[in-house]
Structure formats: structure tokens, C-alpha cells
């Protein structure tokens, strides 16, 4: 019982740390492109750790199943929301999401 409590507390603590670190990342990064990279850990890894903590604490039962179902929707939807957001930022900024190509080789465009 105590081991379960300790393990689930560690998982919850990790989830809190991840969310705090992500919030700091969003705060200190330079632009919207960079800030967006810190949303994923808070939206994906944090909830996954909370769901795991719930499973460790209570085992496999109805509430755990519902938590993992919610997590599944977040895992499936999250990447497409990130894709749509970063694409919209780029289109708003440059008018097109594609890179300016000087030649045939794949291009790379560093941020200013």
C-alpha cells in the first residue's frame, strides 16, 4: 500500500514538474513557433503520468478506463492541433507555409 502511494505520488510530482517546466518554456521562449514546442509535454506527458498514477493507486477499474480514454483522445488530437496551429502561424506570417527554395536540394530556413 505504501509503495503504491509513494509510486503514484512520484508520478504525480513528475506531472506537476512537467507542467511547470512547460509553462516556464512558454514564458521564456522567443516566438510562437518555439513556445508551441512546450505545449506538447504539458498536454501529453503530464496527463499520461496522471493517468498512470491513477492506475497505480486504484488499479484497473472504471475510472482508470475513462482516464485512459480521455488520454487516448488527447494523444490522437494533440499532434493535429499542433500541426494546424504552427501552419496557421506560418501562413499568417509569410503567406505560405512552404519554404523558399533556391535549388533542388531540401531547404532549411533558420529563424531570425
Amino acid at each position: 500500500m505504501i509503495i503504491k502511494d509513494v509510486f503514484s505520488d512520484i508520478l504525480l510530482g513528475l506531472a506537476v514538474l512537467i507542467v511547470i517546466a512547460s509553462a516556464v518554456g512558454v514564458l521564456v521562449m522567443r516566438d510562437a513557433y518555439q513556445k508551441l514546442h512546450f505545449v506538447t509535454p504539458a498536454a501529453l506527458i503530464g496527463p499520461a503520468l496522471v493517468a498512470l498514477a491513477l492506475m497505480v493507486q486504484h488499479g484497473v477499474y472504471e475510472m482508470t478506463g475513462e482516464s485512459f480514454l480521455a488520454l487516448f483522445f488527447m494523444i490522437v488530437a494533440g499532434p493535429f492541433i499542433s500541426h494546424a496551429t504552427i501552419r496557421a502561424i506560418r501562413v499568417r506570417e509569410k503567406g505560405d507555409w512552404r519554404l523558399q527554395r533556391g535549388g533542388q536540394a531540401p531547404a532549411e530556413e533558420k529563424e531570425q
Partner: protein, 170 residues
């Protein structure tokens, strides 16, 4: 051009047979009803009837949206195999992103972020091709260091943004 610009409708190139739309509605209904039973956790008749009603409505909306957006979905089971690598990639990319955060906080260094083109064949416009591209975009955007902007049909490249350009996947 890889699809219409954001916000503009996709042109429907073929009409979906009514039987297929009914089949699609039925699949959605089964999925929505399963979701209801899971979340409601009751097999009382009145609860099931209420669930059947809202599942029918949800399935109708889902089918209508899929039809209006000309969504076509057909996938191969082998496309799911690379998904097994995703948990490892998420953990690795998370460490990459937090290392960049640490360098920013401790030394004031800006992360070397960049837009990068990765060679990816655009493929055809069949339902399989459309599904493959959707899975590529979603699968590549799961890990936090890399987000996909799109797949360029003319250049056969996938444009991604990386927070740390040099440590990302190839």
C-alpha cells in the same frame, strides 16, 4: 499544391454512394454508442435509449462533416507499426526540448530552431494516399521537438519546424 489553403473547402471529385454513407453512419453510431456505454457505465434501458439517441445524432453530424469535407479514409495495418516507436521518440524529444530550456535559462542561449525540409514522397490522391499523409503529419507531430507544417506536392518534401534543428529525427 498540397490541398486547399486553410479554411477553404476541398473540391469533391466524386459522389459517395448512399449505401456507403449509410455504412459510414452505422460505423460512427457503433463507435459513439460504445463511447456512451463506457462513460455512462450503465445498462439500464432508459440510459441505453438516451445513448442510442445521442449516438445517432453524433453519427449524423460526423457523417455530414466527413461528407462535406470529402474525407476519405483507407489505411494499411503496416502503417501502424512505426507508431510503436512513438513513446520512445516522445521521451527523447522531451529531453531535447527541456535541455534547450535549461540552456536558455542558465546561459541565455536561444534554441537553434529552424524550418527543415525532409524528403517524403507526396503520393497519389487516392483514399490510401490521403490517409498516409494524414498519419505522417500526425505521427511526426507527436514528439515535442518536431511539428509538421505540411507535405509539399511539387517538391516531395515534408516541411517541419524543429526547436533544436540538429538533434531531431531525420
Amino acid at each position: 499544391m498540397a490541398g486547399p489553403p486553410a479554411g477553404e473547402p476541398r473540391e469533391r471529385t466524386y459522389e459517395t454512394p448512399v449505401a456507403r454513407r449509410v455504412g459510414s453512419w452505422l460505423v460512427w453510431w457503433v463507435l459513439m454508442m460504445s463511447l456512451w456505454v463506457m462513460l455512462d457505465d450503465s445498462i439500464d434501458t432508459d440510459e441505453l435509449l438516451a445513448g442510442a439517441g445521442v449516438a445517432a445524432l453524433a453519427a449524423l453530424f460526423a457523417e455530414m462533416v466527413s461528407y462535406q469535407a470529402a474525407t476519405r479514409f483507407r489505411m494499411r495495418i503496416e502503417w501502424l507499426v512505426p507508431a510503436l516507436r512513438l513513446p520512445g521518440e516522445v521521451v527523447r524529444d522531451t529531453m531535447v526540448v527541456y535541455r534547450a530550456l535549461w540552456r536558455r535559462l542558465a546561459r541565455g542561449e536561444q534554441p537553434p530552431s529552424a524550418f527543415v525540409e525532409l524528403p517524403v514522397p507526396f503520393g497519389d490522391d487516392s483514399p490510401e494516399g490521403v490517409t498516409r499523409r494524414a498519419l505522417l503529419v500526425g505521427g511526426t507531430s507527436v514528439a515535442p521537438n518536431t511539428f509538421v507544417l505540411g507535405i509539399d506536392q511539387d517538391a516531395d518534401v515534408m516541411v517541419v519546424h524543429r526547436l533544436v534543428a540538429k538533434e531531431g529525427r531525420t
